[in-house]
């Protein structure tokens, strides 16, 4: 009996080690895909719900955070490798932030494109339809328990019929099957999880990391005037090949995050440009005041970490008489941010707390809150996530409709150098984005 037991255990370990990596670019087969987009004057997040099987209907939710003037949003999903595409639309109501669902369909796993069209703008977002696969150890556990149950019945029946040898054989089967089930279950944390069906092929020996991406940032027209609308274009090129960088993956619920600010911080936009061509991201904005503006683009290439690239542009026109003041946007209802210690020191952690006054905050971009920190001279930009709402990578990102976060938002951050820093805390309340600015003076080490 010992020999088959040992053989089974060894086989289990080999089978477990055989499995491949679980996530494609950090996404499991059970995770939704999120694309924040700033399109047609709206700030939306398109959520493609996870599929448990294909072909099947595909739930897509458009979360309108800033609906602007509203309007029709057309959505289409098509497989990259050919096949049937599926389309639908939602009509976002002006002044009504919220969830707008639509059901599309999908008939195969693998690489797809999600096309979002609104107000004459079109964004094509690449993603993969994944279907989770049952891990082998789970199959072994269920099969072993089923065998144990059958053997147990056999043992009982044999005992009742006074078939001693058969009863002993079945009893042995119960023990072996139970040991196999428990062993497989206990060893499961050490088995590599299954690759979801549809995930892009990955070489086992590939090292993480890709070359740097370099931006070409352009404003159309070249120098917008105060109050005029302009198009900000970020083209990304590979630092090694010179080709367009078109391997961006979902990074905090968007392909790229763009922060645009002016010198005094009175102009602040955290937006999510649409993908107009491979490696090209664009967003329409309205200029406010004359002066120098900084652009920061944060994104992540496949199999690589996050990157931040920067650029700048100038808004023309007569110089302002006085500096502007950063202002609150959205329906803020709480207090002002509080830093602890009150006089932060460079290089030491500082906790910034904001009491929002409401206990029903929703996640935005996967977190209860975001803190964007910029040095006065624009040379540094930090992006901090709310401390209590961060979840380990293996856990699912909370849904935008879950209004479960407590009123206090807490951020911990170490300012790199002494000086003046501009900060913006952002969170979602009733689907709407609230931005609360703050200024902090950081002293050097005494």
């Amino acid at each position: 009996m010992l020999k088959p037991l040992i053989t089974t255990l060894v086989a289990l370990v080999i089978l477990g080690a055989w499995a491949g990596p679980a996530w494609a670019h950090g996404r499991s087969g059970e995770a939704d895909v999120r694309f924040a987009q700033t399109i047609a004057g709206m700030e939306i997040t398109v959520v493609v719900r996870a599929s448990l099987q294909v072909p099947a209907p595909l739930q897509v939710d458009v979360v309108a955070h800033a609906p602007g003037r509203g309007g029709r949003i057309d959505l289409a999903i098509r497989p990259v490798e050919g096949g049937r595409s599926s389309s639908g639309m939602v009509r976002v109501e002006a002044g009504s932030p919220g969830m707008y669902p639509v059901v599309l369909s999908v008939d195969r796993v693998g690489p797809h494109e999600l096309e979002v069209r609104a107000g004459g703008e079109r964004s094509v977002l690449p993603f993969a339809v994944l279907v989770p696969q049952t891990p082998l150890w789970e199959v072994v556990v269920y099969a072993a328990f089923a065998c144990a149950a059958v053997a147990l019945v056999g043992a009982l029946v044999s005992a009742a019929l006074s078939r001693r040898l058969a009863a002993a054989g079945f009893a042995g089967g119960v023990v072996v099957a139970t040991v196999v089930a428990f062993t497989a279950g206990l060893l499961s944390p050490w088995f590599a999880p299954m690759v979801p069906e549809g995930a892009p092929p990955a070489s086992r020996d590939v090292m993480l990391g890709r070359p740097n991406a370099q931006p070409v940032i352009a404003v159309l027209p070249g120098e917008p005037g105060p109050g005029s609308e302009f198009r900000l274009r970020v083209e990304l090129f590979d630092g090694s090949t010179g080709g367009p960088v078109d391997d961006l993956v979902e990074h905090h619920a968007a392909l790229s995050h763009l922060v645009v600010t002016n010198q005094d911080g009175s102009y602040f936009h955290h937006v999510h440009p649409i993908r107009t061509a491979p490696g090209t991201y664009e967003v329409r904005l309205r200029a406010q005041e004359q002066g120098r503006h900084w652009v920061y683009a944060e994104f992540e290439r496949a199999d690589a970490g996050g990157q931040l690239v920067t650029g700048e542009f100038t808004v023309g026109g007569p110089k302002q008489a006085a500096d502007g003041v950063p202002t609150v946007t959205g329906a803020a209802s709480g207090g002002v941010p509080v830093t602890a210690p009150a006089q932060p020191e460079a290089g030491r952690p500082v906790t910034v707390t904001l009491d929002t006054g409401v206990a029903s905050l929703q996640p935005w971009l996967g977190m209860a809150g975001h803190l964007v920190v910029r040095s006065q001279d624009g040379g540094f930009l930090g992006h901090v996530h709310e401390a209590r709402s961060m979840v380990p990578g293996s856990q699912r990102v909370p849904d935008e409709s879950v209004a479960a976060y407590a009123p206090k938002l807490e951020f911990t951050f170490s300012f790199p150098r002494p000086g003046r820093y501009l900060m913006w805390i952002q969170y979602a309340k009733n689907y709407e984005i609230v931005t609360v600015p703050h200024v902090v003076e950081v002293r050097g080490t005494p």
Binding site: M1, L2, L5, V175, T183, L186, P349, A387, P392, T412
Partner: protein, 130 residues
């Protein structure tokens, strides 16, 4: 006879060990001592790395009067925890109580030591269990 007993006892013992392990919740991180060295000081941090409030004992060498504080950094998630000041607990010994880790995973403990010789932040690595 002895062989027969062994054949029966071994699987039962395996089964019992498995059940006990499950009931105990697997092997959690036990107390550990993490040494680190900077330009002016050497430190040894003794703690049980887990989420939630914990106690960390820091021993510095040379054993002098210093201002000692700790904070956690999780590089993979871009996460920093607030600084916990450590109180003096005898020559060269300091105790800090508070929350150093907010989630399981690989963390760095940054020990800030400010003494007459200078100020430095010494880094040690640890793995935090659930």
């Amino acid at each position: 006879m002895t062989r027969r007993i062994a054949f029966i006892a071994l699987p039962i013992l395996l089964l019992a060990a498995g059940i006990i392990w499950i009931l105990r919740g697997g092997d959690g991180p036990g107390p550990m001592e993490l040494p680190g060295r900077g330009a002016h000081f050497a430190v040894v941090v003794a703690l049980e790395p887990s989420t939630g409030p914990l106690e960390a004992r820091v021993e510095i060498e040379p054993a002098v009067k210093a201002e000692v504080s700790l904070f956690g950094v999780m590089p993979h998630m871009g996460h920093t925890t607030p600084e916990i000041p450590a109180r003096d607990d005898g020559t060269g010994r300091y105790v800090a109580r508070g929350e150093l880790f907010t989630m399981p995973g690989a963390w760095e403990i940054h020990i800030r030591v400010q003494g007459a010789a200078g100020t430095e932040v010494i880094k040690v690595n640890t793995l935090v269990g659930t």
